[in-house]
Each structure stands twice: as structure tokens, then as C-alpha cells.
Symmetry: D2
Subunit: 328 residues, 4 copies
């Protein structure tokens, strides 16, 4: 029979996202609530290997819920890809008396966790923490909502200047493989065009569409481009193409970059992270050992890691239609 759960470790891994601190806080306080010990692991899976641990109690996580980033820091770990590294990590957990682990990160982190569980039969529960919202099995990831607001506020500012000068702006947003940020923020910002990796618009159709916009009386335009989009991948080249093919257009490029990862989390992300942190400890107490916490239909659900990493969250076709109609 399994040992009774007494001590939980928590770490953040991969790219940071707003709400990770809120999630850590919820895990720590949920441990305190259930009379469990909680240990924080610094610098993600690499810190696990190096034994970079610190005990956390309910007061350790005060004034954190509104902070962007992750106070446990994050890091990519090459060592964790090696059996040797994972063995060290496991040994550290055992020596520290840790019975289970909560990992907050994206699909890369879950892949690593999945291997670790199989190798050492060690219970892990994952929380989806990434701005990209590309995790299968959860309607939302921690940080996605905040990133959308950040992007939309930035584009609102760019539109001020676009309107003042009758300009066309290409705005690159994050999303190497997934267009969720581009599509939602594009609708929210009232973008004239949205280019995402899931759909290949083609340069010629883009020009046609821009010509239609111009004829319909639009004097300035915002095109939101996902960094992984086929024709938008090299955004500066695309800008040149538009300049060459549309006379009299003043085209500018803005790459939003890392501002999208930071910032104080939105209320939605704080609540989602809090719920997920509580659900993670509940799940471990309930004997779960190989799952991600997700949100579906606004309820907390358990999704096997296998399910979570087998494919990427799909784009909602309804949203593409809404984008088309409302940008008319």
C-alpha cells in the first residue's frame, strides 16, 4: 500500500507565464490546509536535479498572487533529458522525504514528467502554465488570458498611431505552433487580418483582402501575425511584399516579444491558478499520480498526461468565422 501523503514538492518549468505565482501559492496553502508539508523547488527540473529546495508555509507565499513571473524561477534543463539527471532528481526527492510533485508548465514539462513517473513510479500532478493555450484537454492554460489582455492593450496603442497616420501595421504575437493568442487577440483588438499557423492564407489572398478593405473605406489596418504562421514567419519580408504590391501603403512592423509573458495576472488567471492549485493537492490526496488538472466547461477535470501531450489544442472554427465577420 502506498505511503500516506505527507510532503509535496512544487516547481515551475519551461517558459514562465502570469499566474504561476498564484498557482504555487494555492498549492502551498492547500498543503497547509490539509496539514501537509510543502517544499518549493527552484529553477524547475534543473533545480530538482541540483536539490535546490526550500520549505514553504502559508506565510511564505503572501503578496505573490498579483505578481507576474514565478518566484521559484524556471529554467530549461538538458540534464533532465538524461537518465542520470532524472535519477539524481529522484534521489533528491526521496532524501527530502517528498511523496509527490506538482509541476507547473507546458507540454515539454509534461513529457518529462510522464517519463519520470514511469521510471520511478513517482506521483506527479501537472498544471498547465503557458501563455500559448496549446495544451490538449484544458479549455484554458494559466497565463493565456493575461497575455491576451497584454496584446490587446498594446494593439490599442498601436491603433492610436495607425489611425493618426493612415498606416498598416503588422503586429507579431507569440505562438510558434498555435494561433490561439493571435486569433483571440486579433478579434479583441479588431484586427483587419489575422495570420495563424493553422491556416495558410497565402500572400496573394492577403493582398486581395487588403485591397477589399481599402475599397470599403478603411484608412488604417492592423494585421496580427502569429510567429509560427507560414507567410508571417518572416514578418519583415512580408512587410516588404505588401509595400511592393500595394501602392501608397505605409507599412510598419511591431514584434511584441517578451512583454507578452509578464505582467500582473488578470483576475481570470488568478482564479484559474488558485482553483488548479487546490485541485492538484486534492488529486494527490485522492491517489492520482499521472494527470494534469484541466478546466473543461468551467469545471476542474483530470486529464491523463498521455492525453494532454498527444496533440495540441485545436483552433475553434467558430472564432475564425467571428473574426471574418466582425472585421468586415
Amino acid at each position: 500500500m502506498a505511503k500516506k501523503l505527507q510532503k509535496i514538492a512544487v516547481l515551475t518549468s519551461g517558459g514562465d507565464s502570469p499566474g504561476m505565482n498564484a498557482a504555487i501559492r494555492a498549492v502551498v496553502r492547500s498543503c497547509a490546509y490539509h496539514g501537509l508539508e510543502c517544499v518549493g523547488v527552484f529553477r524547475g527540473l534543473q533545480g530538482l536535479i541540483e536539490g535546490d529546495f526550500k520549505m514553504l508555509d502559508a506565510r511564505s507565499v503572501k503578496n505573490l498572487i498579483n505578481r507576474g513571473g514565478t518566484f521559484l524561477k524556471s529554467a530549461r534543463s538538458k540534464d533532465f533529458h538524461e537518465k542520470e539527471g532524472r535519477e539524481k532528481a529522484h534521489l533528491n526527492l526521496v532524501n527530502e522525504g517528498v511523496d509527490a510533485l506538482v509541476v507547473i508548465g507546458g507540454d515539454g514539462t509534461f513529457r518529462g514528467a510522464s517519463i519520470f513517473i514511469k521510471e520511478f513510479n513517482f506521483p506527479i500532478v501537472g498544471l498547465p502554465g503557458t501563455i500559448d493555450n496549446d495544451i490538449h484537454g484544458t479549455d484554458n492554460t494559466i497565463g493565456f488570458d493575461t497575455a491576451l489582455n497584454t496584446v490587446v492593450e498594446a494593439i490599442d496603442k498601436i491603433r492610436d498611431t495607425a489611425n493618426s497616420h493612415n498606416r498598416l501595421f503588422l503586429v507579431e504575437v507569440m505562438g510558434r505552433d498555435a494561433g490561439h493568442i493571435a486569433l483571440n487577440a486579433g478579434i479583441g483588438a479588431g484586427a483587419e487580418e489575422i495570420l495563424i499557423p493553422e491556416e495558410d492564407m497565402g500572400k496573394d489572398r492577403l493582398i486581395e483582402s487588403l485591397e477589399r478593405s481599402r475599397k470599403s473605406g478603411k484608412t488604417s489596418s492592423i494585421i496580427v501575425v502569429s510567429e509560427g504562421d507560414q507567410i508571417g514567419k518572416n514578418i519583415f519580408e512580408l512587410a516588404e511584399f505588401i509595400k511592393t504590391n500595394m501602392e501608397g501603403y505605409d507599412v510598419r512592423v511591431t514584434v511584441l516579444g517578451h512583454v507578452q509573458r509578464g505582467g500582473s495576472p488578470s483576475c481570470y488567471d488568478r482564479v484559474l491558478a488558485s482553483r488548479m492549485g487546490v485541485a492538484a493537492v486534492d488529486a494527490l490526496l485522492d491517489g492520482k499520480r499521472d494527470i494534469m488538472i484541466g478546466t473543461q466547461n468551467n469545471k476542474m477535470v483530470h486529464v491523463s498526461f498521455e492525453e494532454a501531450i498527444k496533440e495540441q489544442q485545436k483552433i475553434d472554427l467558430e472564432l475564425i468565422r467571428v473574426a471574418d465577420i466582425t472585421s468586415i
Copy 2:
């Protein structure tokens, strides 16, 4: 057989909420997309009675998606409670050649709409526009998410000064009958206590809980109070009660008030409003004539007005537990 749909009117009614402009914009552009005419009605149901109409095309609603409030303005209408008023309204619609109506507002608006539909057999589709999120049949109302962010940002600021002075703050938020804003924003702001109308905590239990917090080492506290809460209804009296019953506590009150209604809508509310606006015109084209558009499980759904107004959206008990655990 019903006349083919050619002209739609749109209005906002009741308290304004952020995202109403985005919803109007989506209705107008969806009409343009489908080749329908669209007429805006100013000042809600009262404007319907007074015939305060204006034709709107796709360009009429540019640069509106990011604006708080409603450019069509809103108003409470006593006249619409009278048969005579409603008859005038109907006559105006008929004279204007309007075939169907989209109303954006709360349950009061839907009650009025419901009567109107029965009396004149006139097609109406409703969009839930209110910051209170108290409408049955939809997971979210337009404006709720923005209001939560506004409240959380305000409390973040208050916490700066609470922390600097070891003070206790009572913060009143909107929600006469429903605690949705208080509960979500309270979790998001890391409030120590949350008082909502759905649960009667009682003054004595509140004092006990505050004493426990103090003993656990907390030096400042935020209590979020829904304006309709039993013991929080008169927030200044409650503050006096705490001062009297807890020695050495510096207690302050902040009533957030109407800032909660305004502000540029969040990305979530802009996208929700856009989807709902598109779905409203789709529904009318599809022959629907007595429904509210809602969102359930992140999908657009049709909810009969009867269903929407029969009761208020319930508080999620999971959230109350999350609030309890994460404020430990």
C-alpha cells in the same frame, strides 16, 4: 409565412457594461455581412418608444471595440412598463421597417422583451450585458470579466497601503443580489474574507475568523463585501462593529462604486461580445424569436427568455472552498 428578414434594430438597456460597444459592433457588422440593414436605437427601450433611431453601417462602428460604456446610450424606461409605451415602441419599429430586434442588457431588459414578444409577436434576441454575471443560462455575461479585473486592480492598490500600515480594509463591490463579483475578485485579490449575499456569515463568525488570521501572523487584511451581503449591507456599521470587537485594529472602508462599470473591455469580454453579436444575427436568420444568446462550455447556446429570467445564476460552491483554502 414570415416575412424575410431584412432589417434589424439593436439597443442597449439597463446598467451599462464594458463590451456593450463590442456587441453592438458585431451585430452591425454581422448585418452588413449578411446583407441586412441595421438600425441603432438610442437610449434603450425609452428610445424605442421615442423613435430615436439611426442607420448604422459597417464603418459606423469603427474604433468602438475598445471603448467602455455604450455609444447607443442606455436608460431605464418607466414608459415601457405601460402597455401604451410598448405600443408606441412597436409602431415605431413597424414604421421604420424593422423586422427583428437585438437587445443587450440584464434580466430586467429580458423581462420587458419577453412581454413585448408575447404582445406583438415580434422577434427579439437578447445578449446578456451586465457586470453582475447573474443571468441564468450563460456562464458569463458581457462585462463581468472586465469588472473583475477593475476590482482586482483596485484592491491591489489598496493592499499596497494596507500592507504599509498593517490595516484592515473593507472593500465594497457591486452585486446587489449576487456575489459573483465579490467571490471571484476576492479570490483573485487574495482577500482574507469575502462576504456575499448567498451566504450569511454572521458578524461573530467574521470576528472569530479575523482573530484566527491575526494569530496566524497576518498583519493586514482585505475583506471584500458584496453590496447585497447581510452583514455587509451597511459597510460603515460593520466597520464600527469590527473596531469595537477587535482591539488595536485600524479599520478603513472603500466603496468602489461606479468605476466598476466602466473601462476598456478585457480581451475576453471583447471576444465574448463579438461572438454573441454574430450569434444573435445568426439566430434571427435562423428564425429564432424569443431567446437569449448564452455561453456554456465555451460554446454559443440559445436559452429561452423564460429560462433566462426564471432564476439567478448560482454561486459555484467550489469557488467558496477555493477562497477558504487559499486565504489560509
Copy 3:
């Protein structure tokens, strides 16, 4: 001859204001730059009496420049009004080996400092930290600019809802004795009327002016009221007076309250606080012992405490004229 300066203490006192952390950070880093030791005093003058000290080095103040409030916390100290309290404070400073003190606060703090300097011949330099901008001898106080932005953003939100409903809003802002916040934020928010303690408008003139506004075609109005204003002191009474005397007006009241003290400081306040912190240590190194650092004509200046506390910063009549003209 005076002992060579080796150790400086720093504290924040009175009401907190955004930028106080930036000022502390600059004092601490300036000490590190000059090879001086720096000790932080918690909870202001009361902490000085209770010996609540902590050594601070350059790294102790990282990630603080953008935080509202004061991490050294602040408190009002009755004990410091007594000779006995001040003697304890002095003894603590001597025992700790502190050679000089930097106090960040308002005129109350400076009055206390002034007495202390005379009694113990102990060097003190003050930094003006208050949102009210009511300190004589400096064009700006640390926190004023941030508070103005907070107020203006709040009123922008209120205006969304005021415009949507054709309403009149009374918005109370801080400023018990001084109208600086009301006057500047009132101009910045495009308020129709601004009521400040320095000018007694009288209720009748207010009504006349509102009638003129109404006739000129204004459909909604914002009146910014300083909490210390003659007719605005009881803002709810004033609202009733307007309702009684102006037919058909929907009048609402919002008291902005403590949100005005918090929030991440504006760039201006961060730079001002950084400059003043550096200037304070420079002044002490230069043998100054009884001055406040001020900013005049965008230069750092030395103002004797006597000068700083003898009267309050005056309202600029040019601003009153600008308010009158631009609200036409």
C-alpha cells in the same frame, strides 16, 4: 569637529505614497556607492523608538522600484510626540552607530524631525513623500504624479458610465487641506467643475454653472471634489442639494478613497524618488543636517525644514483659469 559619516538610517513615516520604495532604494544604493552603511527602520518613527532596525545593502532593495507602498512600512507615532519617546529613538540611533537619518514623509514628519534635530543635534535630511503635493519648497512630492494618474484613470471609467446614462457624478478625491489633486486631475479628466478648499464656490454658483453646462448641450457631467472643500465636505449632502435644485438630474457619488495611495509608481515618481534619494545622501555627505530635498525648476534643491513646514504649497492660479476655459 563632526564625526565622519559612516552609517545612515532611512525610514518612511505618515501616509504611504507610491515611490517611497524607489526613494528607499536610492538611499540604500547611494550609501553602497559611497561606501556607507545603511540601516532601514521599520514602521517609521515608532520603529525608531522601538529599535526595529535592519541592515540593508544594494541587493536588499532589488525589485522594489516598481512597487507601491513602502516595504519599511509606515505608522503614526504618538510616542514620538513625547520627549521620552524621542530620547529612546535617539539612544537607539546612537547604540546602532547611526550618524544621520533620512526621513521620507509629509509635513507632520518634518515637524517631528525638526524638533529632534534641535533636541539632539542629530543630522536629518527629509524627502517629501505624500500624494497631496502640499509641501512648501518643492514643485512635486513623491507620489503626487502617480495619484493623479490613478484618479484620472478612475474618472475615465466613471465617464464611460456617465456618458451612457446622461448622469452627473460627484467624485471625491483626496486632499484634506489642499486642492492640488482635485485641480490637476480635474483638468486631466476633463471635469465640468472642480471644488477645492482654496476657493469657496458656494452652492448657488455651482448650480448656476451646471445650468449653463446643460444649456450648452452637455448631457453628462463630472464634478471633482476635494475632500476638504467647503461645500463638498459632505459630498452626499451636496448630491442631495443638486438633486433638489436641478430637475431631472440623475446624480451619483463616488468616493475614490485609498486606491489613490497605492499602485505602481509612475515613471516620473520613480525618477523623482531616485534623484531625491541620491541627493539626500549627497547632502548628508556635504554636512547638511536640517533640510528637505525639493525639486524646483526640475533641479534638486535644499530647503530648510523651517521653510518646508511654515506653510502649505499654494494652488497655481493659472491652473484654475485653464480649468475654467477647457471645461467650457
Copy 4:
């Protein structure tokens, strides 16, 4: 004798900046206050040539004070560089019955205005509207303060992620010839290094300084780079140089770009713009015909165009010292 002033035209020219709308509003309302007519010119000097005029009254400029950009739009005008273009412009002004012109823009605009005044003896008053704060004779330009807040908020977000990953970020800000934005925002954001065109640091000194930072215990760094800086001009090259010369550093680049031009103006910029707009009309009424309105020592002043364009506003050496000390 000069004709009595009856009609004033106002335009915005060059790059847009936050607060331009507030300035236009103040000019328009000041005209209304003094009983003058006011005509808005769209698209700057090009619109002057093309006669793109519209009468503006006090109500035309409502709800504009909080909007970024310029509703009169702006444009660069090649035609205005030609005598022929200016003659058309003059003819349009005469035909429209305009007696004087207020131009809001940067030094390029003032140069054009200066020539126009000489050629046609036509009264022009300029307002400094640019985010760069590079105009001689005024302590602040309209839009500078807002841009600083925008930059500082963006870097706060980048620092969240920099701290979470122990990274070095190069952040490029606007300022082709002047380092005012970089220097002030760099201090405000707590940047470790600030590279400005006015000072050539040299790559080797930069590496030395970064090494010192690392030794002092800093684990992440922000370097703010003015786009016109010698070594920062090609920011991606500089990033490569740092990677090559500092082992184990994860270096990232963010180019903030056009978000810096937009956004709702800060309270400071709204008040400054309002004051300057009022002062412009005062100056014209007072017979001035060849000046820029500036702010010096927080007072409105008149600066001849000759003075304003003869050189660029200098960097304040005190600020460079404050940057050095507070980033220790």
C-alpha cells in the same frame, strides 16, 4: 495695422504623440471662450495644402482628452517643402478667412512653420508635441511623460520574465537622436545599463560593467537602448556580441516600437497640453506670431521658433549620475 483676430486654424503634424487631442481640445475651447472661430485642419501641413478643413466648436472636442493619437490625423508633407505647396496652403488659409495658425508637432514642423511665417507674414504659434522631448526651450513636450510610463510598464513586464529565467534583455526604445526616453525610463525601470546617443559607452566598457553586475550578485539584467545609440544601433548585433563575450548568458532582444507613441495620455500630459493650448490662443490674442509655447520651471513661456529649432534639448548630467548610482 493688423486685422483683429477672428479665426484660428489648428493642426497636428509629424509623428503623433499622446496628448495631441488634449491640446487641440484646449485650442478649440479657448477659441470658444474668447469668442473666436476655430477651424481644424486634417492631415497636418498636407491637409493645409489640400484645404481639408472643418469648423470645430466646444462640443466637437468632447470625450477627446483621454484619447491617444490625434483625431485631426497627421501626415508628412513633401509638398510643403516646395514653395508652390506653401503658396497653396496660404491661399487656402486666406480663402477660409483664417487669421492665425496653431501647429502641434516637433522640430521639423517648426522649421516648416518658420519658413511659412517669413514668406507670408502669417502668424503661427507652435506647441511641442512629440514623445522624444528633444525640443530646445521647453522642459517637457506633450507626450513624453506618457511614453515614459508606457516604456516603464513594458519593462516591468519584461523584468518578470527576466527574473524568472536569469536572463539579460536588451530593450530598444525610441529616440533617434536623443536619449531622453532611454535615460528617464531606464532609471524608472531600474535598468542595469542605459545606452544613449549622447554618450558612447563602447562595447568593451559595457561588457566590463555587465561582468561587475554579475559579480555583485545580479542574476538578471535589463539594458535599455536608445535606437540612435552608437553601439546599440544594431541591437541584434549587440546581442550577439554580448553572447560571444559573456559565457552562460541567455540574451534576448525586445524592440518596443510603436506602442510607445500611443495610449491614453497621462494626467501630466493632459494638463500640459491643456495649458499649452490655452497659452497658444492667449499668445495669438497678444499679437505673438512666431513662437513656440514651452514650459520652463513649470510656467508657460514663449520661445521664438528660431530658438526652438537651433539645437536639441540636452541630456541632464545629473540624471546620468543618478542612473549610475541607483543601478549599483
